[in-house]
Symmetry: D3
Subunit: 313 residues, 6 copies
Amino acid sequence: MMKSLKGPAIFLAQFAGDEEPFNTIESISRWAAELGYSGVQIPTWDSLVAVHPAYDHMFDAFAPENVRGNPPARTEWAVNQLMLAARASRNLGLNAHATFSGALMWHTVYPWPQRPAGLVEEGFAELARRWLPILDEFDRQGVDVCYEIHPGEDLHDGITWERFLKAVNGHPRACILYDPSHFLLQQLDYLQFIDIYHERIRMFHVKDAEFNPTGRSGVYGGYQGWVDRPGRFRSPGDGQVDFQGIFSKLAQYGYDGWAVLEWECCIKHPEQGAAEGAPFIAEHMITVTEKAFDDFAGQPPDKQLLRNILGLS
Amino acid sequence: MMKSLKGPAIFLAQFAGDEEPFNTIESISRWAAELGYSGVQIPTWDSLVAVHPAYDHMFDAFAPENVRGNPPARTEWAVNQLMLAARASRNLGLNAHATFSGALMWHTVYPWPQRPAGLVEEGFAELARRWLPILDEFDRQGVDVCYEIHPGEDLHDGITWERFLKAVNGHPRACILYDPSHFLLQQLDYLQFIDIYHERIRMFHVKDAEFNPTGRSGVYGGYQGWVDRPGRFRSPGDGQVDFQGIFSKLAQYGYDGWAVLEWECCIKHPEQGAAEGAPFIAEHMITVTEKAFDDFAGQPPDKQLLRNILGLS
Amino acid sequence: MMKSLKGPAIFLAQFAGDEEPFNTIESISRWAAELGYSGVQIPTWDSLVAVHPAYDHMFDAFAPENVRGNPPARTEWAVNQLMLAARASRNLGLNAHATFSGALMWHTVYPWPQRPAGLVEEGFAELARRWLPILDEFDRQGVDVCYEIHPGEDLHDGITWERFLKAVNGHPRACILYDPSHFLLQQLDYLQFIDIYHERIRMFHVKDAEFNPTGRSGVYGGYQGWVDRPGRFRSPGDGQVDFQGIFSKLAQYGYDGWAVLEWECCIKHPEQGAAEGAPFIAEHMITVTEKAFDDFAGQPPDKQLLRNILGLS
Amino acid sequence: MMKSLKGPAIFLAQFAGDEEPFNTIESISRWAAELGYSGVQIPTWDSLVAVHPAYDHMFDAFAPENVRGNPPARTEWAVNQLMLAARASRNLGLNAHATFSGALMWHTVYPWPQRPAGLVEEGFAELARRWLPILDEFDRQGVDVCYEIHPGEDLHDGITWERFLKAVNGHPRACILYDPSHFLLQQLDYLQFIDIYHERIRMFHVKDAEFNPTGRSGVYGGYQGWVDRPGRFRSPGDGQVDFQGIFSKLAQYGYDGWAVLEWECCIKHPEQGAAEGAPFIAEHMITVTEKAFDDFAGQPPDKQLLRNILGLS
Amino acid sequence: MMKSLKGPAIFLAQFAGDEEPFNTIESISRWAAELGYSGVQIPTWDSLVAVHPAYDHMFDAFAPENVRGNPPARTEWAVNQLMLAARASRNLGLNAHATFSGALMWHTVYPWPQRPAGLVEEGFAELARRWLPILDEFDRQGVDVCYEIHPGEDLHDGITWERFLKAVNGHPRACILYDPSHFLLQQLDYLQFIDIYHERIRMFHVKDAEFNPTGRSGVYGGYQGWVDRPGRFRSPGDGQVDFQGIFSKLAQYGYDGWAVLEWECCIKHPEQGAAEGAPFIAEHMITVTEKAFDDFAGQPPDKQLLRNILGLS
Amino acid sequence: MMKSLKGPAIFLAQFAGDEEPFNTIESISRWAAELGYSGVQIPTWDSLVAVHPAYDHMFDAFAPENVRGNPPARTEWAVNQLMLAARASRNLGLNAHATFSGALMWHTVYPWPQRPAGLVEEGFAELARRWLPILDEFDRQGVDVCYEIHPGEDLHDGITWERFLKAVNGHPRACILYDPSHFLLQQLDYLQFIDIYHERIRMFHVKDAEFNPTGRSGVYGGYQGWVDRPGRFRSPGDGQVDFQGIFSKLAQYGYDGWAVLEWECCIKHPEQGAAEGAPFIAEHMITVTEKAFDDFAGQPPDKQLLRNILGLS
């Protein structure tokens, strides 16, 4: 039987704040429900399992003060957070947890200067060494680990996902959080991505983006801020992502997880984005059909009829 | 070591005739050599292994008189022809033979009226029953059977190729004659086809085509003749096929067979087509490089250097 | 005076069934009205006037048991059904009846193997012989016969429509049921089709489709089922048909027939499709303007003014 | 029998000058022959049959001094020139003469401010009054009048051509000089133009153009000079015109006139343009085939065979 | 602080008439408010500051009877109207007035026949002589003069706008009324236009258009009426203008003027257009965000941290 | 007077080697001349002025052994090399030197994790501190410093070029080496780049590239080697760069430097690439015209004529 996806839900990361109704989980959930959301996704801050030293100073802001400036301690803390998250998820009845892979190789993403032979193999081996114990713990708790495929991370496209999955021996808990905005910004075919990797997609962020290169700047953006870059995030429906195509493919492949709004528009006000997001998702939801037009469903093949049609005696 | 393809060659089917120099194999080969071809492909007429009765009257013209109007005899004759061709190929030192699959299901290619359940499975099973003994004989002779993927045949795209290959249990002699013109006319992505199926491609026809639909007619052509159809064959370079892309992909995957001109233009004179075809193919030939820009080739990985670059102690 | 089209209506073929409210004409009409439809189209099963023997076994399922396996009897039955439909239409106050042309040549739609000289002419002559008495009866009843231009039928594009119309001597009752989904799937320019043939378009099915070819399959579909084919039907708004363009052209040419939803999506549930279809059509409806911006309407030409503007003395 | 076009030829307007070899018809023809041209086209200056007063001051430069500032005399002079050209053409054995229609309405080409009712009808009636005697004289001499379809003239696209042809009652000598550059610059479909109007095309200028609009300027060009306009002429092969498509269509429709280079590039030196033009045209020439792949050529239809294939008894 | 635009408003030119509710400013404003508009724009008829004699007869219809046939008097009247409009605007508390530039050169927009050297410079100098006193008066009243960039006017694209602005020495009151429909019809990049000229855009008309060239006609339209031209105006949302892109860019650049519907569709009824226009604009309105994702907002740069990240000691 | 570019030349970096004729400057130059090149470009290895520590281990391979592992010494060595290169260029009569900017910020090119406020400003300030003395020395020698705009460098697009040029106060010796392959791979509009920055372009590499993203990988390439990446370099003419457009624009803006082949194809053999490169460049060379079609060249403006045309008395 075909299955339909769930939604709309909303990711709270960009909304949580110090003022009513954004300051408590109860009030923010009530706010979301009134806008038409039937689920919320709660952010965690555990994306620090693998950090190259070039980024140490930038990631310290995400860690508690007592581990800042001490990368090994920070990594240990991050791993512990994930182990706790696995158990928390089981206790809350959740079956999937979102995270980042971390990045050891990202600073070499452009293939110049040349990477020495073996660098990529060694990088993924190290990632696997760090993630396998975490994946095993999540497996014990019955929870999937959904890596957000994301530039800046070692897992940033299908190829790196395949390399990682192979490095962790196809671990059954290694899954994907699918966010098309990160694919559009790297001009990856995000619809074909679903055709290839749908079996491991367990989470879905509804986030839009647009890419409008000029004679001044292209995909790298020239160190500009978000609003000035050719590639930038937009509120759902304001960008170039073909969500109709995405929802159709997810329905076709029987994805039955949530469709979660992630708002991060460089132009539109977040509350307008949230208010428009729930009906936007609702309009794209597809209840799948049980009807097929292809054959005389339910009837066993009539061998003689078939041979007649094929022109065989 | 990467390998390069061979060529240019020319398929003689559309040129052989009753007049000098087209009336003997010696004179036509000399004519081809003078135009710059370094190989010729000689047509055979053995594509009658599987014919649906609706087409009996149309295929009889390809068979000798004594089997016309007698489909079982005609099929037996065609199978015998193929058995002889296998041995002839070995004797001539050839390692590949071109053919068509035949068609039992083609009249049902449009999915209306509905096909009864099991029809496609039964059709491919029958095809396999007929082709397996032939494939085995070709295997004994050390010759590949290259099916031209072609509308009108049961093997007309990648999907039907996959079904057939599965039905013959992945027989090692079941291979592909790649002709992009037949893919362009059905709007199949002929470059991606090479990415997916390159391991089985053993022959290559350089034949061009164009598709210019209007408000009057589309892919089906409205029973019009070739010159009036939106989709039609053209001399190489006069159509829409991206041969630069094809030669690049074949070079990248190490295809080392021939590039064979097949001329079948509805507008241009065949002798002009043949004269232009040899330089056209020659300009597209790629001698592959042995240089790589990716890593410090030949050096063994330096583990400590790698760990330094990855930021590991 | 310009005229506007009528709608939304719904074609009941894919909805009628054994369960409430789909089991009686009254209850299903009430269900449709509640969704916002102001008209219904009732299916008939009379598309059996011309069937090539290769399809006999597949069409028998559409005919009553007593004529199955007996093609001449089945054809006679089908013609009678049409004669009755003509009179029924007049009695119900309807002025148009939808049908299929039937197919004698469809199995030769791909121009290989070659069609013998005269085949197409003979085929359309036979079609005309069968349809002329029916068209005359419809003329007596004052009802148009609207052929759905449809792959699998001899009338499957503009060219075949022109051939047929010529074969029936431009019979005034020979008209067109326009369904863009069948045109998109053959990559015919469905907007230009309206420019060319609008005078004979008397019915309009609002049915969507999409075509997404890959390296595995193109327009022929590889004998796959609907959900897996590159070309497939979709709920209105979910596919690639430019309905805004269609409604604009129909309004421009003064089409005043109905816009009838035909739902046949391989993914979305039919009840969701029906619920979304009525507002979808309503949003596309155009009430035509009486204003023109082109000239000083209503004023007779002022010859001297014109000559002044043209610079003539 | 299909016919092939002639060429390459070269239009001398932009080359004639005061210096060797461009100063005599003999030396310039020898120069052209050495570059590979087998024909030349000689410019005339007779495009002054219909001039709106707003352009009087700009066209006077094309007329002899004694008629400048005197529009009626200038028009009379121009008509006389054409009458002489008709006879000169016959004497030289030429069967076509190139000209412009003139323009009475061009200043109103943008439909704002509104044109008063009847303006266009009156304009074409006046054009017909002026051209009919000229067309008749050309008819007496057996020479076609080929109007270059050209912005700035009343005959600037297919619609205005149709209006004019109707106004001169479909005069058999009213023909078309086809120059795709003028169509590309107005974004008219120059390939479809051949499909529609090929029967009247008797001359063909091989002239290229490109259109690259920006945020600063579009089709109107902002009163800039040629090199700065988004739309500008280029040497053949340097612009965006699909000459392969044009030569294919002209061959398909049996055009047997000349392919004449007209060079007017805003960037490239004219002598480089002329040198490259002859081989450019030569490479695009198509000798048409006599072979057809569609049916068993030369055989009379076999009625019983046809009925068998159609499935009729 | 970023600013948001205002709307929806409606331009009354095409709606005012003799019948209720379109015959008084009170009743038409009430009608507009009920449709959801929060502002109205009232048309004036003052676009006669510069008229080339070729158009005298066509513009007289816009002027009062006593100045018709007397171009200098008509121009004087038009200038006076503008002077009055400046004061009226201040009295009504309005800060922007819409107008046309007039046209002295438009009849030479196509660069053939050649324009004599200096023509464009002289034309813009004359325009500046006429407009500078008007601009100064508007400056005294504190009101911007917004020129609608429009074919048929000398200011019809970015290049002519730049020339004019230079001719009036960058007068601070010389501004732009941005209407994308006029840009789409000349294939100018209307999104890039905003990037380049946004600082002078003070008014915005929400008017749609489409351009569908054929083999019969392109951008010039062949003197056809609006409904038959390849380029024509449409109700907002029915054409090809990317309003999402426009509203995004205007929000990004802090445009805080009005979004004013101008309806002028050649197909759809004006009242349907007006009813659909208000929600269409409302759905496109963007309240701008104050959030930035780019840096640790509000924090002063930490020099040492920066040097650490840059790898400087 | 318009100027034309020089060429073809060839960049020797990828050809120099240990075997004849690639092992001496004399023999390799003779080899190049025989292929049709009229100039050579000799590589230097001085791109080490600014290296972020994360790349120290990768750049050491480019430096002499005695400064490896000692970044300050390596930078000093690199600066000295450049000072010597300035003098060497003057001695050789060269007026331009190619180099890279170096990179302090490249590891933060993706804007996540967030860059702290001021990072980009500080980075460019540091770059300017290092480059200003070098630029001054080159100025003393009369030689331009041409930065290759290149991913992996801080100067990788137009925006970063503008920032750098501002940081060095618009130093007159700061120029651009234009290589379109690096722009295509980041989807930057390389034709518009010339429109904007042509005044500073002093060198031009003829290098081709292609970008074919899939569902597996996009612009970042997933750490794959060159042959497998969606974006990869190709021999000139084998990729997607529009060289006709580039040569046209360079000719239009009067670029009179060299067109230098840089071969770095991941598929084609370098000697085939070199052999095809010279005629490829030669075919694209444009000798600029001195003719203009815009006005009556050389004549002084005739004021009264202009006013007549403008309709002024």
